[in-house]
């Protein structure tokens, strides 16, 4: 009988916790005051967006990127207490959305007003159904939209520096235009070229360079899901490398596994150039230098494969 009484006490304790929880939800929403340093505090889910926010905001913003190492996978990141503290103080939050960095939405829930969060996938207008590729930062037009959106939001928070933000955003977009020019030149020079991918990470950039994706869809789907590739699909993908039709293999080193390695080996053996792409910003790069290097790598690979084909 005594056992039951103890259980009853536990039940009461839970009931009290529920009541407390309700209060906590109410008071938690009021945090997120402007920073005392006079800078706009920005929290970005990855350092890619952190870099863009820094490019637009300059000295007027204080950027905290939650994922700033190239070896962490945003799809399955476990946030820390410091991350939550930074989010609770942010005036602007930037998340990729589209299921890429769900941890950000979970973290922000209740402590950062959704109106203060920029969802880049929604902003990009690229999200159209189940096949949506959420790696939107490889889409230069989407990043151009993001720069405008950030300039608008920063201006609303610090009107005195409106011109700085506009000038910075314009400079950033000019850099993007330069890259887009290079990509369309590639598209013109290598019409009809195709690329193989291990994962759809850099797909938007490849598309802008006019490269059609020749990989069997089942291959990249299996790699992304972390399940094994069906044998016929693996065979087709390996055969694709030696067929001589593929201009380059876009490779994601952050998710290397035995099956992507096999495809990489086949590509090397057949003389197909392998171009490495990462999901997060490499150390020491800004968004523009990073995408510049990616574009240069694509150009180099295409020249190389055209040379071998001749």
């Amino acid at each position: 009988m005594r056992l039951r009484r103890t259980s009853l006490t536990f039940g009461l304790a839970v009931a009290v916790s529920v009541a407390l929880g309700a209060c906590a939800g109410g008071s938690g929403a009021s945090t997120g005051t402007p920073p005392d340093s006079g800078k706009i505090s920005v929290v970005a889910s990855t350092n890619v967006y952190g870099s863009i926010a820094g490019a637009v905001g300059g000295d007027a913003v204080d950027v905290h990127s939650i994922i700033d190492r190239p070896d962490a996978d945003p799809h399955s990141y476990e946030a820390t207490a410091q991350d939550k503290l930074a989010v609770s103080k942010a005036a602007v939050g930037i998340e990729n959305g589209g299921g890429y960095d769900d941890f950000f939405g979970q973290l922000a829930s209740g402590i950062l007003d959704p109106a203060k969060v920029v969802n880049v996938s929604a902003l990009s207008g690229l999200d159209k159904g189940a096949d949506f590729n959420e790696h939107v930062w490889y889409s230069l037009p989407a990043m151009s939209k993001l720069a405008d959106e950030l300039a608008r939001r920063f201006t609303a928070l610090d009107a005195a520096r409106a011109s700085t933000f506009t000038v910075n955003a314009a400079a950033f977009k000019k850099g993007l235009d330069g890259l887009e020019g290079k990509l369309s030149a590639l598209k013109a020079a290598h019409a009809g070229a195709t690329a193989a991918i291990t994962e759809p990470v850099p797909l938007y950039l490849l598309q802008e360079a006019g490269l059609a994706n020749a990989t069997p869809a089942a291959f990249s789907t299996a790699i992304e899901n972390g399940s094994d590739v069906p044998t016929t699909v693996l065979r087709d993908t390996v055969a694709l490398m030696s067929s001589g039709t593929v201009g380059l293999l876009a490779y994601n080193e952050q998710t290397e596994g035995p099956q992507t390695l096999e495809v990489k080996k086949a590509a090397r053996a057949a003389g197909v150039p392998v171009v490495d792409f990462t999901e997060t910003l490499p150390a020491g790069d800004s968004y523009l230098t990073w995408m510049g290097a990616n574009t240069a790598n694509i150009a180099k690979a295409l020249e190389q494969s055209t040379a071998t084909a001749k």
Binding site: F10, G21, Q106
Partner: protein, 294 residues
């Protein structure tokens, strides 16, 4: 990474006053989970179901993949998957000796089904499962309420079947001979286990569920054999691990889960040492007197 870098990343209490109010929901969720985990964990240990907890956690994935395939809600799918898996394990493995092999048979089949559903699904699946596993750091008030309601249901259910379940867990044959519905009780318990595992995973993730449902009860069983003490100690250990782990983690630059798992493992180690010392010296005065009479 030097030693000072390491300690700076692991233990750092500079922003503590600022951090504590932010984590009220996480702390409460940790306490509720500790309570449920400690209570249900004692039965998990008595019924030798540690592997089943792992199986239920894994099989939520198959449910989610099926829901994705048929266009249903993924989170609901994972819940249904867990509860179905738990019931199936309960129905197929009543005898203690069969239990582990039944789980070993069902789990890979279920995981294989999950991969099958994923490959049949047209479209990208990699970005659809992010919300399935929660993180203790980002518990919000909605999740906390859901967790608390589940905790109430599970605790109420346990209280209702406590005495016959204890009997049936300790000695199923004698309980069955006395007319106690052993099979029904087993199914009822597996249902409670299934919903608590599934919901806790969505709030704090699979790792912490394992650390809370198994380790504290296992530690308690090392130091005491008295049923009431096992329950009390296991609840106390579970709450100490979660709440203590979160409190230690605040301010550090690494995630919360390693603190909780390390703390609960440390408690287990201490209990093991204490238990072996007590076993050598005799369990208690009563055990000693029993031995003296024998």
């Amino acid at each position: 990474m030097s030693w000072t870098d390491f300690t700076g990343a692991v233990f750092n209490f500079t922003d503590y006053a600022e951090l504590l109010p932010l984590f009220r929901d996480s702390l409460l969720a940790g306490a509720i989970l500790g309570l449920v985990g400690g209570l249900i964990g004692t039965f998990v240990m008595m019924r030798d179901l540690a592997f089943a907890v792992h199986g239920i956690a894994e099989l939520s994935f198959a449910g989610a993949a099926f829901a994705l395939l048929v266009g249903a809600d993924v989170i609901l799918g994972s819940l249904v998957g867990s509860v179905l898996a738990a019931l199936l394990l309960g129905a197929m493995g009543v005898r203690a000796r069969e239990k582990n092999s039944v789980i070993g048979v069902i789990m890979p089949f279920g995981l294989g089904l999950g991969i099958l559903f994923l490959s049949l699904y047209q479209g990208r699946a990699a970005n659809k499962f992010g919300l399935l596993t929660g993180q203790i750091v980002s518990v919000d008030s909605t999740q906390l309420s859901a967790l608390a309601v589940t905790a109430l249901v599970v605790i109420a259910g346990l209280v209702l079947i406590w005495r016959p379940l204890t009997f049936a867990s300790a000695d199923p044959d004698i309980a069955a001979a006395r007319g106690i519905p052993v099979r029904t009780l087993s199914m009822a318990f597996m249902f409670l286990l299934g919903i608590s595992v599934a919901l806790s995973i969505q709030v704090v993730g699979a790792l912490l569920v394992l650390a809370l449902l198994i380790t504290p009860a296992a530690a308690a069983l090392q130091v005491t054999a008295a049923p009431r003490m096992v329950v009390l100690l296991s609840v106390a250990f579970a709450i100490l691990s979660t709440v203590g782990g979160i409190m230690l983690a605040l301010g550090g630059r690494i995630p919360i889960s390693p603190y909780v798992t390390t703390l609960s493992f440390a408690i287990y180690l201490v209990c093991r040492v204490a238990g072996s010392w007590r076993r050598r010296r005799g369990w208690s005065a009563r055990a000693a007197s029993l031995r003296a009479h024998a």
